[in-house]
Amino acid sequence: FCFFHGFYAEEDLVANLASMSASDSIKAIRKLPETITKKREIRNKVLKERKGAQPSCCTQCLQGAAVSFRRFRNTLSEYFQPLWIWHKTLKVVGAEFGTSVLSYFVFLKWLLNFNIFSFLINFGFITIPQFLAAEPNNLSFTGLELFTGAGYFQQTVLYYGFYTNATISKIENGPSYNMQLAYIFTVGIYFVICFLILLFSMAKSFYRNFVNPQTHSGKASKLLCTWDFNITNEKAVKLKQKNLRTQIKEDLADVDKEVLNFSVMERVARFGFHLLAWVASVGAAVVACTGVYFLSINNLELFMKGHRNDLESQAAMLVLAVIVSLLNTFIPFFFSWVGHMEKFQTPGQHIYITIARNIILKISIVGILCYYWLNIVAASESQCWETLVGQDIYRLVLVDFIFCLLGSFFGEFLRRIIGTTVCVSLGLPEFDIGRNVLDLIYAQTLTWIGILFSPLLPGIQMIAFFIVFFVKKVSLMKNCQPPRKVWRTAQMTTSFMLLLFCPSFLGVLCVIGVTVWRLKPSERCGPFRGLSSMYAAVSEWIQILASYTDSKWVVWIYRNLITSTLFFLILSSIALIVTYLYWQIIQGRKTMIKHLQKQMMN
């Protein structure tokens, strides 16, 4: 950042800019804290100096070409602007409701990108080749399949069971396409890319938002930095001002409250109360899981015994999905109520603890379902257990989507009607950001688990997310008021990304890992029929490659780097040593900052 006093500083600046490349100097000029008139003068001087310094006509041609290329690129980006879907919608939402509500929609759009990417590569690499080698489908189509995912859909590309294990080749002795390898590599590479994207986004977010975590409760920053200049709605502005006023009053009152000490009895009573609340919440989660487990075992028995294409039994299959969604919808209300009973010291604690309990509930439900799928369904005697799991996940995703829409309808639309006509003291509803984001993470977790068993599931989730975006946006604009509580957007966005990575994505990787390495694929369906595990396809391929001399290096890399435990041991030790060194460097720097601050104050 340079302040220039006087003419000589400006000459230096112009010389500096002229020595940079054209695009760098433009970026630097844009960032100058000067008026446009001054910037224009500086720019003209820089151009003149650049022209004067290189009189050769070759470089002049190049510069002319660079200028016209830049103009072309700008026009091109203008034409692509309509493709920035929802850019305008996001701006309007941010203007009316502030950046906290906007962060939900930005997160939804980000998750949508994962699904679009997955759908495109699955469709391109797995489904299209399958169409070439498809077997005819002689089941009948009734409308109910859209809900249950069974029946006609069983013999379509929607599920794992339909994919062939053959090597597809249309022309005799022509290029062939190994479906087994394609399936496992497409899914594997997709997860690796997702992992890298999540890791880098999270690291970038941490870097920006947690530079100095010990000062995050600074009142100065609260005052001068939290004004949301994005807001243009009058009501939102008034609310934000009221909010700030309340916050400042609370902070001033806090100064007196710091001396408040609880007596020992009161502390024990509070602790006991909190413990009771936690026991109640965890108990509710455990009861829900047990219910889901027994219901699903029951379901499986009915399925194995009964007629499969009967209308009644198909509808009965939806019961599990509906019960799971009902539990996911109503138990959080119970948690909210427990939280209200519990008198927390600050409202922020209330929000965080309620979100934590919701996370525990959702993790346990997904966990128990995965246990059921991997241990019970996989070991059952059904013809094609992967298709069964795929169907279960399809139903869960669909019913969750329907409940999301219903939740919007009841939670926001009806609540507004009640709040404005019947019981005016309630007022308009607020958009519950935490709960909605957790629902998104849950839906995305289910989709990720389902990719292996139902390759087109991301496409369905993509359509669902599109519809959810529009429904939520319309419901928000018509029914809700801007949030009254303080919501530290940057921190919460980082926490959501962390939640998406840590329990959600890593859990999915564990499930997929167990499926690919440990479980035996079904004998009569799917691309891995007859093998001892899905991963055996890769090891067999390496065996085949070992007999060709051209590809010995691939075999060497596989044997000595990917499957060798010694290599991973060495890699982990190096990673741990580097982490330890960086940690020590950070400690040293913190001490130095403290010393420097003391020096500045004296």
Binding site: K31, I36, R208, A220, C225
Partner: protein, 180 residues
């Protein structure tokens, strides 16, 4: 829209594109917004650089600014003579800095100028009091305002001179990820 517009020369448009964060289409759109505020004052031909200034009342009535409690300060900071009346250059400058493509450092610099009511390059206690008033619609008592301002200066003033300089302010912004 195409390439046929007669408001600016190509040279002028290039200069605007290089000096602001906007594309050609956005610059033209902003010109039309500027013109809509006072169609009789703003000519359709800017090739000979007419010196047209719009008074603050028109700028402050724009829907983006009309509910912002700092609109007067924003207009004063970006206007040529510090009185709130803006030319087209000032107008483009203001929106360029307030747009989402401007880097945080630039916004922090201008935010500092906006909060500095008496234009002395320091945010002193009276500047802070005026800021707090604007942020809370004058509904805190004077003692509360005074207490808050003292706390803010105590926390953020690194070089201990009783007022916030630009470096203090930027130091604080770096530690506050919620700054927009």
């Amino acid at each position: 829209m195409g390439n046929k517009q007669t408001i600016f020369t190509q040279e002028q448009l290039d200069a605007y594109q290089d000096c602001t964060f906007f594309t050609r289409k956005e610059i033209l759109r902003l010109f039309y917004r500027f013109r809509d505020l006072a169609p009789q004052l703003v000519p359709l031909d800017y090739t000979n650089k007419p010196a047209v200034t719009l008074p603050y009342e028109l700028i402050g009535s724009m829907p983006e600014l009309k509910d912002n409690p700092f609109r007067q300060r924003i207009a004063e900071v970006f206007s040529e003579h510090g009185d709130g009346n803006m030319t087209l250059d000032d107008f483009l400058d203001m929106f360029s800095v307030l747009s989402e493509m401007a880097p945080r450092d630039l916004k922090a610099y201008y935010a500092f100028k906006i909060y500095d009511f008496n234009n002395d390059d320091y945010i002193c206690k009276s500047d802070l009091e005026k800021t707090v008033n604007k942020l809370t619609r004058n509904e805190l008592t004077p003692e509360e305002i005074s207490l808050v301002c003292e706390k803010v200066i105590y926390e953020a003033d690194v070089d201990n001179d009783g007022k916030l300089s630009l470096e203090d302010f930027q130091h604080m912004i770096v530690r506050a990820p919620d700054f927009l």
